[in-house]
Symmetry: D2
Subunit: 380 residues, 4 copies
């Protein structure tokens, strides 16, 4: 693991989620840019001292020398955004599989470089767009694919938060500081941090691609260097229309990622904060509430059934969704190691292509926000 | 009453709502463009035959001849949209107060003519934007006004419906037919029918004005002559940003008008289909659910308290909100008749000015939808 | 109308609800035990002075002298509980149809006398158990009747309130005062005021009869003369079991009447405070949410369709449920006057039999609460 | 670990939950009564072959011989109910700390033996009543303790399920089979499996004790040997009254454990299926929704704050609640090993005393269900 030092948020989430199924063990790490902190974290994790590294470059260098059976199988990258690219690049080049936090890189140029590298090296690359790991999101995707909603006409997707409604970054709060710093986060603030999740969710469930964006980015908190609110009209590649909005200044909202997909035959609705329910509607029929863990879920979506660890009524949540991405990723890695072809179900995790889409989305939104034209075509 | 003949929807709603408080009695009417039907409706309403008229012009002509104490006090207009203007104009000119269904007219030119007429005649003009009649909407308005949310930053308002997801107008369904006919409905389909309600609700609660619109109008159902889906980015006059969307093709949605208002201090949320609850949020505090009919409601909003007929837990709904507009309107009419100045509370009903705003909103959205520019300033 | 003087709650509800459909007009009344107040109320209602009476006995006496076409068609009784019996008795004897607030009488002896009188006189007797007027309650009843739930096994019904959590009656609050006074309310406090609604709702929806009760009545507020909390186990006549509880000391609860009915094939759930939704569940299938006003509602329940005034998504609530009882009652009265046989649909309103059941229920609960035996058979 | 062989439900839940925090490692096990299956499970868990045992007695015998630093620190018991007692007894006697699934034993006699053994040996004994591990349950407990609700008057607690609405045990389904078999489950069916959770939750949150029970047990499914529905009136030791009901035949219900606590000052409500929210109510004030992970949660309850791994809006659920019990249990075990006094916060997990209460509850309910007397005092 690279990143996830003392006090880091997402690195610890990766560790907890990765442990759940008992398939993953952290055996090596360069956890912090400060070697002292990296050592401390390694000790906290009860790791052997010889596998705690001061830098990721050293980790790569030393691990590659170990016999294959002892060496790490893959590397998780959970550093601030600006480090994602060089680390992922170097890991891939050295021959390691990679699980990378989103956004994959700071620019689409870098993103495409990684895309090429993945193609060239044949390594497995996972991108942690964790929200698509929820079983009910997988059910939604499969229902759309089966045609239960008919041809899609309209998508509304949102990701409102309120935690940056004040200048939290000026209080020294770590999460706020790097997220509002263009050097560490890239050109997008709110749009890069959470808008991308909304875009990824919409494309994942509908199987469609966003083709045009009309965006308005705003920085409401004085002195902030990046946008903290993002409102977009969108067009999709089948002619569908949509709305995508995200915010960090919507007080009282937490991680209220939610989506409504409307087709010619029916519609569906899902909310991340109560993730065990999927709502569907059809013409002149009672609404339906699909509840995770029931027999009828697996009957309608093998991916949803497979991503379920507890029976109905015992709620599952964020960690389990996260763990689902790790589960499919590790199963694919295992297949690669064993020289087998991974199944379609185990390939169901966000990859380098989703990473490229994410960066293109951010760059398109930023460009559109500066444009006086209504529509900006999605960058390629 | 003009309009509201046999089978008409909104006319019957007006009658039921107007009756609740026992202050209004229908004593005269020209209910249908077909005199036979008008007669039939009058009989169904057990009215005296001499007050059932074949046309509204005849009604005006005859009623004005009656002594003031016998004559109708005001005229409700519940015809299809294209008739609103001439009838309202003629009623005002003849010296009658008017309650008119929305949209007030087909064009802003007509709307401004009415505005001038109202100013000139001094008559009371009510516009039935019924959703602002809900007590919890009034509470929301008063909380924003008191500054409970702080300076407003963002507004999200929606009005999704699904009933026109198929070409219902081709089946002869009356409601669908005139609503999708530009001659009867004007330039806006979805935007005119329900988008205006969303705009009106946003301006009513926030006390702000929409200044710029970036709109996308779509007609999803083949052969339909007007838009059936409307997505907008908006700017408000204090610098706030927003999203407004409405739809007639969102299957399973009914009248899901809902609004989220985000300020510097807090936020609020309201849903028309469960109208007795207002949700508010503040920084680092539990969410609050305000429930209609409680003592603390009236303490925070005299208008909400006044617009309440039942104690908490006995739900009130659409008819009662409708009746609230009638209640304030009739109280104002009574004051005018009595030569008294109406109180601010009784003046709390949508009027000719909201009617003008509504038409300008429709025309601006239609213009923006045709424009390649991102922002179209609100017409004046 | 008898009762419903200035400041009275339920009398005004009766009036507002009775007006909605434009079928009922209040033409005579003895509104208050204080003749001055009765006169005042009559004036407020803009009634002819000659029809405002000082006492109900005088009203009966005078009205009966009028020609049938001028005379009142029926009498609504909205006085405190202790007056229900004598007034209803005298009205029936005089030949008037009666709509009576619940509970019908103070004792089962009186209740049975009324039952006999109704049988003997052939007059129409309506009892205002308003909650069965909700369309979704009617849908629930019809779904159970059709067997959609299978044989019923378990019923949970509740009616928690919190408004009497303190000694409100000592502050002079009128509603609290008579409800906690055994002389005006009879032997049951909470159980009589709202427990009866729960029992009535359970029997109405399931079509079953409560046969045994095991009750615990508690008075939590010191000095209060009647119970303010009621918890019961119940048995039903098909072998089903259940729970019925009501409370006036559950702070924050308002009129949270709700019911869960579980059968061999499925279950249903309904909540009075959000009355437009009925929830049903079946084995290995998504939950279903039935929403008032949709085409599929009327297809499944003629009574629900008939009890609906607004299309789906335009919420209806308490007044409309109330008005549904009046609607069916008046249609039955009309039939009687016209010498026609009322339809089964128009006979769908609570009557003298439900009144007797209600009083028997109260007396059985009070007896059970005093008993050391687990089960007390329902009184007959 | 004892139990949790191939196909077992709760054993796998224990493993997943125990892994999350990275503090617990399964190093030894006797996973199945069939040695072959035990071996298989051990291999699946990638354990050293020498630590996979055929029987728990052998495990105890061998492990105790290992040096303390290598030996297992504690034993988790996840077998069917009838095995809990002998295994726990033997583990304690051998000097191991124990985490035991509920119910602790089949009889109160056995339960008290364990209680004595724990006292005598001084070993740490955890009982997996996992629902009290939810942060919002801990917040509820602390709010009651601080007096935010005032003196408690009424408790309503429920645990409805529907999965045994048909004779599932006759299909060979493993979970259904042992749960409906008195030899493996003891005297209580529904009451033992889930009624105990409801009782435990009520006593945990209120800090009160159930003193009297009036119970009705029913077996709705023909041929079933144990009750599948349980309805109780209860009395608590401060004079509070309550209702406790559980069911396995309520179709569509899953694990709908929920509680309402009403005090003199306010009330609270919590639902296990949406566990991240706690609802509170006070007199004449808006309802409050407390959401897990916010700063104000930790400010009101150190135990809730401590039991939280993700920021607000990233939902946590069943596994994390489960892990909280393991977390506090292991911290206490660590303290014992280190010879330190565990903090009050780390002692916040269900223990042998809760185990005894649970069995007494089951025995009292079974006795009350057979009694004709209304109230049966809680066994001691």
């Amino acid at each position: 693991m690279v990143g996830g030092g003392p006090g880091a948020f997402i690195g610890e989430v990766h560790r907890k989620a990765a442990r759940i199924d008992g398939e993953i063990k952290i055996v090596a790490g360069a956890f912090d840019i400060d070697p002292v902190k990296s050592q401390q974290m390694g000790k906290d994790l009860a790791m052997g001292q010889d596998r705690i590294y001061d830098t990721y470059t050293e980790m790569i260098k030393q691990e590659i020398k170990l016999p294959e059976s002892e060496r790490i199988d893959f590397i998780s990258i959970t550093t601030p955004n600006n480090w994602h690219f060089p680390i992922a690049r170097d890991c891939l080049k050295a021959g390691f599989h990679v699980m990378c936090e989103k956004p994959m890189t700071l620019t689409s140029k870098e993103a495409k470089q990684l895309q090429d590298l993945v193609k060239k090296t044949g390594k497995v690359f996972g991108l942690m767009h964790n929200y698509t790991g929820y079983p009910m999101v997988k059910l939604a995707k499969d229902m759309v694919k089966k045609g239960d909603m008919g041809e899609i006409r309209k998508v509304v997707v949102q990701y409102p938060q309120g935690w940056l409604a004040t200048a939290l970054e000026k209080t020294g709060q770590m999460q706020a500081s790097w997220r509002t710093d263009p050097k560490q986060s890239g050109a997008g603030g709110c749009v890069g941090d959470i808008g991308t999740h909304a875009a990824n969710l919409a494309e994942y469930i509908t199987g469609l691609k966003i083709t045009h964006i009309c965006a308005e980015l705003t920085t409401f908190v004085k002195g902030r260097l990046l946008d903290d609110d993002c409102n977009c009209l969108i067009k999709l590649n089948n002619g569908a229309k949509g709305i995508l909005h995200a915010s960090q200044i919507s007080i009282g909202e937490e991680h209220n990622l939610a989506i409504w997909v409307h087709g010619e035959q029916g519609s569906l609705e899902w909310h991340q904060e109560t993730p065990n329910y999927l709502y569907t509607r059809a013409i002149n029929a009672p609404d339906q509430v699909w509840k995770r863990g029931n027999g009828y879920i697996g009957e309608n979506s093998a991916a949803a059934g497979r991503g379920t660890r507890l029976p109905s009524g015992h709620p599952e949540a964020f960690f389990e969704a996260f763990a689902n991405n790790y589960k499919n990723f590790t199963e694919t890695v295992k297949c690669m190691i064993a020289g087998e072809k991974p199944s379609e179900l185990s390939l169901d995790f966000p990859s380098v292509n989703e990473g490229v889409r994410g960066i293109l989305f951010i760059e398109t939104v930023v460009a559109s926000a500066k444009s006086k034209q209504k529509w900006t075509p999605m960058k390629k």
